[in-house]
Amino acid sequence: MNDGLQWALVAMGLLVVLARRRSVAILLVALQAVLLGIGALTLAPHRPPAFLIAALVLLARGAPLFFLLAVSVRRTREPRPLGLQARPLLNVGAAAAISLATIALIPPLGLETVTAEHASVSLVVIGIITIVTRRETIFQALGLVIVENGVALAAVGVPGGLPLVVELGVAIDLTVVIAVAAILHERIFEEFGTGDSHVLRSLRD
């Protein structure tokens, strides 16, 4: 896969950390999923036939994810903007710095190219940072998709890719998880009047 495309995927992940509007973040993640699928399709001629189907699955899975999250956002309009991030640029800087540190610390993963290794590890780290730093439950669900996109990029970087059955299973599982996340997000919104995860802090010992 083209190096520039892989780093573009990472840049989109960083933009999600920075994004203020939920709809913009959903569009970015959906675009990331589609570009990942297109990138995989470009590799298909040099891979076994099953890889083409796996690449199509990767391309197609962005649509239901976008639909589920977009519908959920439409149904849960926040009465007022959630507390904006205190230091959005600092969060992006931290995400980039932690990604670089992780890349430096992790031994070679044995993927097809070094760029694939670095980009996939970066996406996993950025997804986790999105979950940790963003208060909105929708952004945390988007963080999950970014982490999975990072793993999918790594899988594309393996000469044979993941077996088709596993690739299909991963796509279905992710769709189910995001559907459940959307259901829970809406119930949280109904119960608390907001999708701010800061209201979910009563269970402590």
Binding site: P107, V124, G169, V176, E191, L203
Partner: protein, 493 residues
């Protein structure tokens, strides 16, 4: 392989799916309860027969290699079947007391039962799946339905617990998937789906570069650890166990955690030629000691019944990690007894929670003080569960813990075994304190309970007592048995 195991495996997986479908079709609540009970009895019957076949020597691939009957999968399958049956049987009683749900009042029962049977079906498949990639897919599939079950009551705390569980375990499983990708890349010939089968991995492990295989192995086990609930990635566990409906808490604690741990154990065995015995052992021992150390302070705190059971799960999963890490005949015999005895004790403990919350609603979020005087039959069930979980002799958990610690000394892990013994003693004292200071303390006068419910709980307590006694006797014979010889030789004979 004859046709009987294939048909039984097929029945074991299709029956809960059919039950889920039928429950959605029928309308009357009573009919839904009946389909649930009938489906559960048939499913458990098929699963227990498959487990018995696996434990008595019927081994090999089933359903075109998707499933694998072997010695190690048998006991885990039996545990999932028994815990699922118990949870299904007590579910109607829970639903009679449930006031709110994620679904509308008309569909509440159907949603609960459908999610329950889908979750159970996935758990029944897990111990027998013959492939790491497919095992990951099925493990991940349990997350969605079980998160809905955790948040079923729709109380704010249940929503919080369900959300945490969904997010944390999904991140963990994504890390495990990255590990699978790394292992797949390290395999010399790739090999597609067959390359990720337990046999395929074992065959290719010897030719994998150690560094890449080790990174993949650590990512897989660390990722699965979030789902198993090993410290320090256990944060969802106390919340989900305490807020889920009691029958679901039993499934999570006694079936899901050990079953996912089996996947980690199988991964260790398959990748051992690449990563070495020491690295695998150290990783499991590390998770085991961390889980024991984190759980002990909480076992000393006075807290709500289900939350206490949740921290006991953390302790017991830590003990199992130690047993797998130590390896050897004694420790692995201890692991088998521990999984079964933990399942019986936890099923009883969580089943007692439904009547407990009826007679003492405050017990949802506070210790159940003075229950022995107020409700002796309930206190007997909770006392038996807690006594067994604490490792009070002659609890089979006492014998399994002794076997695991002795196994640690026998295999040269002296420091870890000694530390485990100290932490276990502290955990025992904490739970014994709860037994004496809460359950047996002076409290309110006799509370009125539901007569039919009391009889059912008494019957469950007697069955659990008999099973625990049988497991205690079994603990004396298991270490020298041929069954454990197969386990020490690996998962595949």
């Amino acid at each position: 392989m004859t046709d009987a195991p294939t048909l039984l495996c097929l029945a074991m997986l299709l029956l809960p799916l059919t039950a889920a479908l039928l429950i959605c079709v029928v309308r009357a609540p009573l009919a839904r309860d009946r389909v649930n009970v009938a489906g559960a009895i048939l499913t458990a019957g098929a699963a227990l027969t498959v487990a018995a076949l696996a434990m008595t020597g019927t081994r090999g691939p089933v359903l075109g290699g998707w499933l694998q009957l072997d010695a190690i999968g048998g006991p885990f399958l039996a545990v999932v079947a028994a815990v699922g049956l118990c949870s299904a049987l007590v579910s109607p009683a829970y639903l009679r007391t449930a006031h709110e749900s994620l679904a509308s009042p008309d569909t509440e029962r159907a949603w609960y039962y459908a999610c329950f049977h889908l979750f159970w079906a996935a758990l029944l498949a897990l111990p027998l799946i013959g492939n790491l990639g497919v095992a990951w897919v099925v493990t991940a599939a349990t997350t969605g339905v079980s998160a809905l079950l955790v948040a079923q009551s729709r109380y704010p705390k249940a929503l919080e617990a369900g959300w945490k569980y969904l997010v944390l375990t999904t991140v963990g499983l994504a890390v495990a998937l990255l590990g699978i990708v790394v292992v797949g890349a390290a395999a010399p010939a790739g090999g597609g789906l067959a390359g990720l089968s337990w046999q395929g991995l074992t065959a290719s492990a010897a030719h994998m570069p150690r560094s890449a295989a080790l990174v993949g192995f650590v990512l897989i086990v660390a990722g699965l650890a979030t789902k198993i609930g090993w410290a320090p990635v256990h944060n969802w566990l106390p919340d989900a166990h305490s807020e889920a409906p009691p029958p679901v808490s039993a499934l999570l604690s006694a079936a899901l955690l050990p079953t996912v741990m089996l996947i980690a154990w199988r991964t260790r065995i398959a990748l051992e030629p690449a990563v070495g015995a020491r690295a695998g052992s150290m990783l499991f021992i590390g998770f085991g000691l961390a889980s024991l150390a984190v759980s002990v302070p909480f076992l000393w705190r006075r807290m709500a019944w289900k939350r206490l059971l949740a921290y006991s799960s953390l302790e017991n999963m830590g003990m199992l990690a130690l047993g797998i890490g130590f390896g050897g005949r004694l420790a692995l015999a201890g692991v088998v007894i521990h999984v079964a005895a933990h399942a019986v004790s936890k099923s009883l403990g969580f089943s007692a929670a439904t009547p407990l919350f009826v007679v003492r609603p405050s017990a949802k979020h506070a210790p159940a003080h003075g229950l022995l005087r107020a409700n002796p039959s309930l206190a007997a069930a909770m006392g038996l569960s807690l006594g067994a979980l604490s490792g009070l002799p002659p609890s089979p958990l006492f014998f399994s813990e002794v076997l695991i610690v002795m196994g640690g000394f026998a295999t040269g892990h002296t420091l870890a075994a000694a530390l485990a013994a100290v932490l276990l003693a502290l955990g025992f004292l904490g739970l014994a304190r709860v037994l004496v200071e809460d359950l047996m303390a002076r409290g309110p006068q006799r509370a009125e309970g539901d007569g039919a419910g009391r009889r059912a709980l008494l019957a469950l307590t007697i069955v659990a007592g008999v099973l625990l006694g049988a497991l205690a006797v079994l603990a004396a014979f298991l270490p020298g048995s041929g069954f454990v010889r197969v386990l020490t030789a690996g998962t595949l004979p």
